[in-house]
């Protein structure tokens, strides 16, 4: 365990995030950022947190999840509802945002726990399809959920608006219409802080006793069990942490727009996050961050080619996968791969084939 102490790789990751934040803040202060870039800062932060949290499940724990957007949805809806409900009690936007993010994380963690109970009994593709199923179920529930807040408290109903929210109160979640009239309180700084917190949580988890247990399960569950690792407990730990981070990312994302609907967090969004993770490298947080930022900006940067934009995006996606996995490129990488390799990556390379 040579990387117990100082790890150049972790250091580099933190440095990248802080550096990027500082550089963008300077650019913004000198108003050299285009409106497009300014508009994308918060979503990029949310997607980065989504990517690193999914990387914890897919890369570190080694279980393919196709329903990560479901946790984002839980956080987005419940976190935003909290912020709206507290609008009058907490006038300071920053504090309200922080409270909403924490509440979102808690709810998503609970959802992660509940879903984890059945999901973590399964393996491979079957686990993947069950997470997909849960993602779709969460979407269907939020598409039919009505939640109102008034002086008497919180009212919830499914399918039809039977909440009987008083005139003075407010119907916050309106079934398929989602939440409307959201105050935009998410900021780039909040996003930056959330990324830093996620990284600290994940790096500390990975490099702790629990983290080593999690990776042992990934590399060989049966061997891990035979040496006394509590497989269910550690799998659950990774899964719940991942869900909680995704929840707060969802809340951050939702409060950057004036409206949010459940259909936004569908299978395609889950896949999009998975693409970030795979492209950035399994278990590689640095890679996830870069991939999430690049792939969020890419479709916007391709706008000048208008209708060919998404076609080119698809081609680039395929090419990136082909090039990254070309025998020559892999061989080239392997030649360099020797010294100072951190445990995280070493494990990831060997197990990639087993995931999915």
């Amino acid at each position: 365990m040579k990387n117990r102490g100082f790890s150049p790789f972790r250091f580099l990751t933190y440095l990248l995030v802080i550096g990027a934040y500082a550089a963008l803040q300077v650019l913004q202060a000198r108003s050299e950022l285009s409106a497009t870039m300014r508009g994308m800062l918060v979503p990029i932060c949310a997607y980065v947190v989504m990517a690193v949290s999914l990387n914890l499940t897919v890369g570190v724990l080694g279980e393919l999840s196709l329903g990560h957007a479901g946790f984002m949805s839980v956080g987005a809806f419940l976190g935003t509802s909290t912020a709206i409900a507290l609008q009058d009690r907490i006038p300071v936007a920053g504090v309200r945002l922080a409270v909403a993010l924490v509440v979102a994380a808690i709810f998503a963690a609970v959802a992660g726990f509940l879903i984890g109970i059945p999901v973590l009994r399964l393996n491979g593709d079957y686990l993947a399809i069950v997470t997909l199923a849960f993602g779709e179920i969460i979407k269907a529930i939020f598409n039919n959920l009505y939640l109102g807040v008034d002086a008497k408290g919180v009212h919830v109903s499914l399918l039809e608006d039977a909440t009987n929210t008083a005139e003075t109160g407010r119907l916050i979640i309106q079934g398929p219409m989602g939440i409307g009239g959201i105050q935009k309180i998410s900021t780039f700084t909040a996003g930056f802080v959330l990324i830093m917190i996620s990284l600290i949580v994940i790096f500390n988890l990975v490099n702790s006793r629990a983290g080593r247990a999690i990776m042992a399960i990934r590399d060989n569950p049966i061997a891990a069990q035979s040496v006394g690792v509590n497989v269910v407990k550690y799998k659950m730990m990774a899964f719940v942490v991942s869900a909680a981070l995704a929840g707060s990312a969802g809340a951050l994302f939702a409060m950057n727009y004036s409206t949010v609907v459940a259909n936004k967090f569908d299978f395609n969004t889950s896949i999009l996050i998975l693409v970030f993770v795979v492209l950035g490298g399994l278990g590689n947080m640095f890679g996830s961050i870069v991939a999430a930022a690049v792939l969020t900006i890419l479709p916007e940067a391709l706008r000048p080619i208008a209708e060919y934009r998404m076609l080119l995006y698809a081609v680039l996606l395929i090419l990136m996968m082909l090039i990254a996995n070309h025998p020559f490129v892999r061989g080239l990488f392997n030649r360099f791969k020797r010294t100072g390799q951190i445990q995280l990556e070493a494990g990831a390379d060997e197990t990639e084939g087993e995931v999915a």
């Binding site: 593709d125 069950v130 039919n144 795979v278 996606l317």
Partner: protein, 327 residues
């Protein structure tokens, strides 16, 4: 024939029974479409061990080719009956070539790569096909021609279009009958092909162990290409049947049925050919029942919840093979 009608009538004399029967028939007609798509999924997964997320979009391409081929054909009257068949054949040819092409360009270079990389590539191919279709055929919906109708004249000499056969109080559309029959035929053919023929055996060998199969003198690459060819050919047929039943054709036509059919394949045990058929039918019936008796809005949630329960009880699907993990 008479006794069938009598039987159906006896079943349908009570209002509830009639409703139930009606829902079952509607469920089977929806399920048969899922089943035929699921067969393609399971075929490719069983042999190449990859989730081909682009399958739904190959179906969409097949439907478009069929649509344009049918409309372009101006056959003289006696041959006009063959036009749908020829259109489907054209779609099968195009899709087979497309499937093999996709495999050669996008999947083959990744044979040694982690399966997640292949999954992402498949998603890339899916995006590509959807957006290419959007550019090529525009976004406005095309209405697929009704192949499976009988045009006759009624007693008053007015021409009528028959779309369904009446059995007492329930009606079964011709599309449903054709879909189920083709589904069964394809399933039996696939079972025979993979079980009895030399090429089929080679496929199964590749699915068991690629390296060992290669040592036995099997051309693994050619075998996998063949799998994709068959899978994509099936997709073309599925596309024609899907759009005959639900005639709107847009570039995203294939994606939702694709996901549902993928679920159906897992439901039945992915990799198992009879499993895909069974999974598809059950999923269709389940969906209609959930809509009718629980809630239309929550029908997808109910279907997925049942899927989860089934997987928890039988972790490899209904007919899937349990693989013991080696220590």
């Amino acid at each position: 024939m008479n006794f069938i009608i009598q039987f159906v009538n006896s079943l349908t004399s009570g209002g509830g029974g009639y409703q139930l029967l009606n829902h079952i028939i509607n469920g089977i007609s929806l399920g048969s479409v899922y089943a035929i798509i699921a067969l393609g999924y399971t075929m490719v997964y069983g042999i190449a061990k990859m989730l081909n997320f682009a399958h739904g979009d190959v179906i969409m391409v097949g439907a478009y080719v069929c649509f344009y081929a049918f409309n372009a054909m101006k056959l003289p009257e006696p041959l006009a009956m063959c036009a749908p068949l020829l259109a489907v054949c054209a779609a099968v040819v195009v899709c087979t070539l497309l499937g093999v092409g996709i495999e050669k360009l996008a999947y083959k270079p990744l044979r040694a790569a982690p399966s997640l990389a292949v999954l992402i590539t498949a998603i890339g191919v899916s995006y590509f096909l959807q957006n290419a279709a959007l550019l090529l055929w525009s976004s406005s919906p095309k209405v697929f021609p009704s192949f499976f109708v009988i045009r006759t004249t009624d007693a008053d000499g007015e021409s009528v279009v028959l779309r369904s056969v009446q059995l007492g109080a329930v009606s079964i559309s011709y599309v449903t009958i054709v879909t189920i029959v083709s589904c069964v035929v394809i399933m039996l053919w696939l079972t025979w092909f993979t079980g009895r023929t030399k090429m089929g055996k080679a496929m199964r060998a590749c699915s068991e162990d690629k390296a060992a199969a290669q040592l036995m003198g099997i051309d693994v690459n050619a075998t996998i290409s063949l799998t994709f060819a068959i899978g994509s050919g099936l997709a073309a047929i599925a596309g024609a049947l899907l759009c005959s039943a639900y005639p709107n054709l847009v570039p995203t036509t294939g994606s939702m049925p694709g996901i549902k059919a993928f679920t159906a394949a897992v439901f039945g045990g992915i990799g198992s050919i009879p499993g895909a058929f069974l999974g598809g039918l059950l999923l269709g019936v389940l969906e209609i029942f959930a809509k009718a008796y629980i809630s239309v809005q929550l029908s997808d949630a109910v279907v997925f919840a049942v899927l989860i329960v089934v997987l928890l009880v039988k972790p490899t699907g209904l007919l899937g093979r349990a693989i013991r993990e080696k220590v």
